[in-house]
């Protein structure tokens, strides 16, 4: 019943499983957030300022937005606050200034579960699969809020990631790093969300899978789903992005279309690895 040891459940390979702690996330308490309204978008985290618990602010007047059916990509150095911004948009980080709006509706005060029901899907950067459940059950859990028949979506996910079909009866905790990442993305796709938020979906996946993944993301966006993602494989990501954000120390440093950012030599040198 130790901390980490206690929580070690079902994971066989301890070198690729993080001995999990108890959940770290908590639903934000944004009751007193001072709203900001700078512009409109389908999903927008507008002028967000806030941080973890009682610590210093991580985000400073940070704005992230994505339009319907478009792809927005967030890039920036490590620790810039990209994941933090995603969490803020999803209601897992208390912000004291700013607002989050979805389709014009202010959702700043909604709990994460409620946001899921509003059509938002999220793949966090770490701990993003149910390790003790099989691959198939992971996907089913992705479709938890769906009441319709989701076997088609599941077939699509299996098409996209054939390895998952092969391993569908295996506990996800036994998969390799890249395979887990595929499960995580597949899980989010199962939700059939209106907005899909991905935190570094391609970390650790092989080139061939990454290409397919990006292709698929474009396809998904074409069906009218908005995509908001953080990427370190920034050049490929920006290449398909309608909108790009560069965050530095919790602030918007550069904003523009994907092409604009790719073309900006300063951005290339400092953030995209030349």
């Amino acid at each position: 019943m130790s901390g980490p040891a206690y929580d070690d459940r079902g994971n066989k390979d301890r070198t690729i499983t993080k001995a999990g702690q108890v959940g770290q996330l908590r639903a934000a308490d944004n009751r007193d957030a001072r709203p900001v309204h700078s512009r409109d978008a389908f999903l927008i985290g507008d002028g967000m300022t806030g941080g973890y618990g009682r610590g210093a602010d991580i985000l400073h007047d940070c704005t992230i937005a994505v339009e319907k059916g478009q792809i927005a990509v967030i890039v920036g150095p490590n620790g810039a606050g990209k994941s933090t911004a995603m969490k803020a948009v999803f209601g897992m980080l208390s912000i004291h200034t700013g607002s989050v709006r979805l389709g014009g509706e202010d959702i700043t005060r909604l709990a994460p579960q409620a946001r899921v029901r509003k059509g938002m899907g999220f793949v966090p950067q770490n701990a993003n699969i149910f390790t003790s459940m099989t691959v198939e059950e992971n996907l089913e859990m992705g479709a938890f809020i769906r009441t319709d028949d989701y076997s088609d979506t599941m077939a699509q996910v299996y098409d996209l990631f054939p390895i998952l079909k092969e391993k569908r009866r295996q506990p996800a905790g036994e998969l390799s790093g890249g395979q887990r990442q595929q499960v995580a993305v597949g899980r989010a796709l199962m939700t059939e969300p209106t907005v899909l938020m991905l935190d570094e979906p391609t970390a650790g996946v092989s080139p061939i899978v990454m290409d397919e993944l990006f292709d698929r993301i474009i396809e998904v966006a074409r069906t009218g789903i908005s995509i908001l993602m953080v990427e370190q494989n920034a050049r490929q990501a920006l290449a398909i992005a309608d909108q790009g954000y560069v965050l530095v120390q919790g602030r918007n440093a550069y904003t523009g279309t994907g092409e604009e950012l790719l073309a900006d030599p300063e951005v290339r040198r400092s953030f995209l690895g030349g």
Binding site: G10, Q24, Q113
Partner: protein, 336 residues
């Protein structure tokens, strides 16, 4: 040389009691394992939860008996079960509301919850004794035996008797049915899977739209039902006494752990392992061998591997040995 008598003697003193005791332990261990699996802590209050639920059943049984209701050969207590479960559920849900929920929100380490559950144990402990007192209560009625030793002897003409109690039979059947249902529930139903998901990764469960409070609620309801059923069956077979229920905690935990914490099937297997090891290792084979061997070879001594003094020690030795061979129990990770 009398094979039949030997077999009957062995069944009567080893197999039947161990199977019954094993299923009793298993039912208790199921509750423990479920809480461990889903709410992630070892619940020390489980023994006293069982006592409390059983107390509810006893009070209801007395009331029913007062009304003259009976179930014929079956104990009236079975009729009173729903009432007991309801009372027990109310208690655990109230506890969760007042106590556990706070710590869940705080995301405390599981060991804190373990200690908290000890506090809860003390409180339940007092509550039960306040209401029904510390003494022995009998509430069984109906016919005690499916077949008694005497009847068996009369029927078969054998020298040895075989007794099977109604409560033993009910317990075994219940244990099997409950495990099957639980297994099905956790692995096949949406709610069950959402419970496993929650236990695996709370944060992600939240992100999938699973309502944690509902998971917790369902878990406690199942636990209350399990605890009450287990406690009642145990009480029918032996007798009800709050202190004994507290003492049951140790073998129950042992069962849950040998079987693999978090696994319902493991709980059953663990219950049987503990029960059989307690009963067989210290069994004196004199009687059985006496039937089997020709008269000239009949043993003088007891032919006992170890004195019953070491009964508990032995069951723990077995437990340790099992763990050394399978360090995370027999059924780790198969379910829940």
């Amino acid at each position: 040389m009398d094979f039949l008598n030997a077999l009957v003697a062995l069944s009567n003193f080893v197999i039947v009691p161990a199977v019954a005791y094993g299923s009793q332990l298993a039912l208790g261990a199921l509750g423990v394992t479920l809480i461990y699996g889903i709410l992630r802590f070892s619940n020390f209050a489980h023994g006293d939860t069982m006592a409390f639920g059983t107390m509810g059943v006893i009070l209801a049984t007395w009331w029913l008996q007062g009304l003259g209701v009976s179930l014929g050969p079956l104990p009236t207590a079975l009729l009173a079960l729903p009432a007991g479960i309801a009372i027990c559920a109310a208690l655990v849900l109230a506890t969760d509301r007042v106590v556990y929920r706070f710590y869940r929100a705080q995301r405390v380490k599981p060991v804190i919850l373990v200690i908290v559950s000890m506090g809860v144990m003390f409180v339940y402990n007092g509550l039960t004794r306040f209401v029904i007192g510390p003494g022995d209560q009998s509430f069984g009625d109906g016919s005690r035996f499916v077949i008694s030793a005497l009847d068996f002897r009369a029927m078969t003409g054998l020298q040895e008797g075989l007794a099977i109690r109604t409560s033993q039979a009910i317990t075994l059947v219940t244990a099997i049915v409950v495990v099957a249902i639980l297994f099905w529930f956790l692995n096949r139903t949406r709610t069950g899977k959402s419970m496993r998901a929650y236990s695996d990764n709370e944060d992600l469960a939240l992100l999938s739209g699973i309502n944690p409070e509902r998971v917790v609620l369902v878990t406690w309801l199942i636990v209350a039902a399990l605890a009450t059923v287990a406690g009642t069956l145990y009480g029918l077979d032996k007798s009800f006494k709050p202190f004994t229920y507290f003492q049951l905690l140790l073998p129950i935990f042992a069962s849950a752990i040998v079987g693999g914490l978090g696994s319902p099937v493991g709980a059953i297997a663990g219950g049987f392992i503990i029960a059989f090891s307690e009963v067989t290792i210290t069994y004196a084979w004199k009687k059985v061998l006496g039937h089997l061997l020709p008269e000239s070879l009949e043993p003088d001594g007891l032919v006992q591997l170890l004195a019953v003094d070491y009964k508990f020690a032995v069951s723990f030795v077995i437990l340790v040995v099992v763990l050394l061979i399978r360090p995370t129990g027999l059924f780790r990770g198969k379910a829940v």
